[in-house]
Each structure stands twice: as C-alpha cells, then as structure tokens.
C-alpha cells in the first residue's frame, strides 16, 4: 500500500496552481489600484481632481501674489528697488506669470446654433485646430500676451481636443471661446484675417455653417496670468550662458 497522498505529479500541479493564483493576484491588484470599475466612477474621480486642482491653482496664485508683494516690500525696505527685482518682474511678465494690460484685439469664436442634419455635425463646431490657427496667426502678428477664456498661453501651453471641449493648459474650455491678445491691434487683426487657416474660420466657415467668429480692436485689454505650475523636471539652464 502506498501511504503517501502526495505524488510527484500532484506536487508539480500544486506548484503550477500556486503560480497561477499568484499571477492572477498580481494582475488584479494592479488593476484595482489603476482602474475604478465604472466610467461613472472615473468621471467623478476626474471631477474631484479638477476641483482639487482649481483650489490648488487659486492657492498657488494667491501665494504667488503674496510672494510678489513680499519681494517688493523687501526691495523697498532696503531703500532701492534693486535691478534684480526689476529684472525678475520683467522676466515674469514675459513668461506670462503676471496679468498684463494693453491695447489689442478680442476674438470670439463659437459653435453654430443650428446644425443642418444633412451635413457633418463636426463642420458646425469650433475645433482645437481652428483655435490653434487663430492663436498662431496672432503670435505671428506680434501678439505679446494671449489668453483663451482666461487661460494664458505660455511656452508650454497645449491646445488640444478633449471630447466636446478644448483643452488649453489643463482647463477644459467650451464654446464660446474668447481670445484676448495684446499687441498692435491693426497688425493682429490683419494677420488673423489673412492667415490661410484662420481666415477660413472668419470667412467661409462663418457664412456657410453659421459659426460665430468676430474680431474687434480694444484699447484697453486685460490678459490673465498663467495659473498652472511651471517647474521643469527635465530641462535645466545651460551653465552660465544667456543663449
């Protein structure tokens, strides 16, 4: 009589069983942390994070303002506004970290109110490409500061499509889009209207599909400050060099 209940084959299969269990454990544990079960969960996660981000952004700009005043005070305390502070302010302004005012143009783009069901509904919407083209034309026309619905365009700003909205910086914007650009208003207007892509939005698209697209010169315009963070992780300045 063979008294052992373990046979070599049984032992091998039990090892395989343990392996399988461990593999499925690995997979599910990664899954649970990475993916909430339902789309609705995901949506609420996104909402939560967005409101968190909004709070943090507010706090960030608050702190930045505080820092500005402290710096200014410190400079005034020491009697002179050092050239350092002035330089800092100048750099900050050109980087888009402070709100600026000046003359320029205001452009309003909006989706069409009525959609002809026979046509492609996409033709009746303002797309990220339209926005990019207009913004690009404005920069080409010498715009010094641009914001879209209060989102300042800085050197790292992406403009991309995110479902039914357009993502600028990390804010989701919906129609209508108000673009404020500071610069020589005449040059800005003519560049916006003559750019091969942007002119389509103001011309044929507007008349054909009923998109809203208007451009107006404004004497005194305010362009918002960039509210996101600007902390490069990969880029570092070249040692000692300006250029």
């Amino acid at each position: 009589m063979n008294d052992r209940i373990y046979r070599p084959a049984l032992v091998v299969v039990v090892v395989v069983l343990g392996f399988l269990v461990a593999v499925s454990f690995n997979t599910t544990s990664r899954l649970v942390t990475a993916r909430p079960q339902r789309v609705s969960d995901l949506v609420s996660v996104v909402r939560d994070m967005e409101s968190q981000r909004a709070e943090l952004q507010d706090r960030y700009s608050e702190l930045r303002e505080k820092m500005d005043t402290l710096e200014r005070n410190a400079a005034e305390d020491s009697g002179v506004r050092s050239s350092f502070t002035q330089e800092l302010e100048r750099v900050r302004q050109s980087a888009g970290l402070s709100a600026v005012v000046g003359p320029g143009v205001k452009i309003v783009l909006a989706d069409a109110h009525e959609v002809d069901p026979d046509n492609d509904p996409n033709d009746y919407l303002i797309h990220d490409s339209d926005l990019t083209a207009v913004v690009n034309a404005l920069f080409a026309g010498g715009a010094e500061a641009i914001d879209v619905n209060g989102e300042r365009l800085v050197s790292t700003t992406p403009i991309r499509c995110a479902g039914t909205t357009i993502l600028v910086n990390s804010a989701r914007l919906g129609s209508p889009y108000t673009i404020s650009a500071i610069g020589d208003s005449g040059a800005l207007e003519s560049f916006a209207l003559s750019d091969p892509v942007a002119s389509l939005v103001f011309g044929p698209y507007k008349t054909q599909y009923g998109l809203e697209a208007s451009i107006s010169r404004v004497d005194e315009l305010r362009v918002a400050a960039y509210r996101g963070s600007m902390r490069p992780r990969f880029a570092s300045a070249t040692p000692g060099g300006e250029s």
Partner: protein, 115 residues
C-alpha cells in the same frame, strides 16, 4: 500534506517574485483556469487518498479541465454570451466543494479522527 502545502507556497512565491501579469482581457480565462486547477488538485488528493491515483489520468485531467474551461470562456466571448464563463465557474465550484468533502473525510480517516 506538508509537502503539498510547501509546493503551494513555492508556486505562490515564484509567481509573486516574478511579478508576471496577464492582459486584463485574459483575466477571466486565468480565473477559470485557477478554479480548474484547484479542482484538479483536490481531485488528485482525493484519488490519492482512495488509492486510485494515476499519474497519467491526473496530469491529463488537469490539462483537459483547464483548457476546456478556457475554451468555454473563449466560446462565450465569441458568441456574445460573456456570461458563459459562469457555467464553468459553477461547475468547477461545485466539484471543488465535492472533492474537498471527500478529501476531508479521507484525511480524517487517515488521521483516525473518524471512527
């Protein structure tokens, strides 16, 4: 008994150390395969206790069970009845408990806890 427990621990440790994962889409297959493997192991223990253990039948049974389980899931995916895997889960689940009862009885007899 101890040897089997050690073997299980060895398998789990190997799996955790290598930290292999499978694509999410294949998770159902893996789950059903695990269930089939549990069933096979319990069946094997039961056969060993009843002195009817046969290496060939056991190994062959293990692979056919596992592959058939995976096949049922696959068919379910293909014909649009995702829930077909439940059939395999229920069948194997029942067998697992059935075998477990037999193994328990067999072990109790061996250890002289019963009668």
């Amino acid at each position: 008994m101890l040897v089997l427990a050690l073997a299980l621990a060895l398998g789990v440790t190997l799996g955790l150390l290598t930290s292999i994962t499978v694509p999410v889409a294949l998770l159902t297959y893996l789950g059903v395969a695990v269930l089939a493997a549990i069933d096979s192991c319990l069946g094997g223990m039961r056969a060993a206790l009843e002195q009817t253990f046969d290496d060939k039948a056991f190994v062959f049974g293990f692979f056919t069970n596992t592959l058939m389980a995976a096949f049922i899931v696959f068919i379910g995916d293909r014909i649009g009845v995702r829930e077909l895997y439940l059939a395999a889960v229920v069948a194997f689940g029942m067998r697992v408990f059935d075998n477990l009862g037999q193994v328990r009885r067999g072990l109790f007899q061996r250890w002289g806890w019963e009668r």
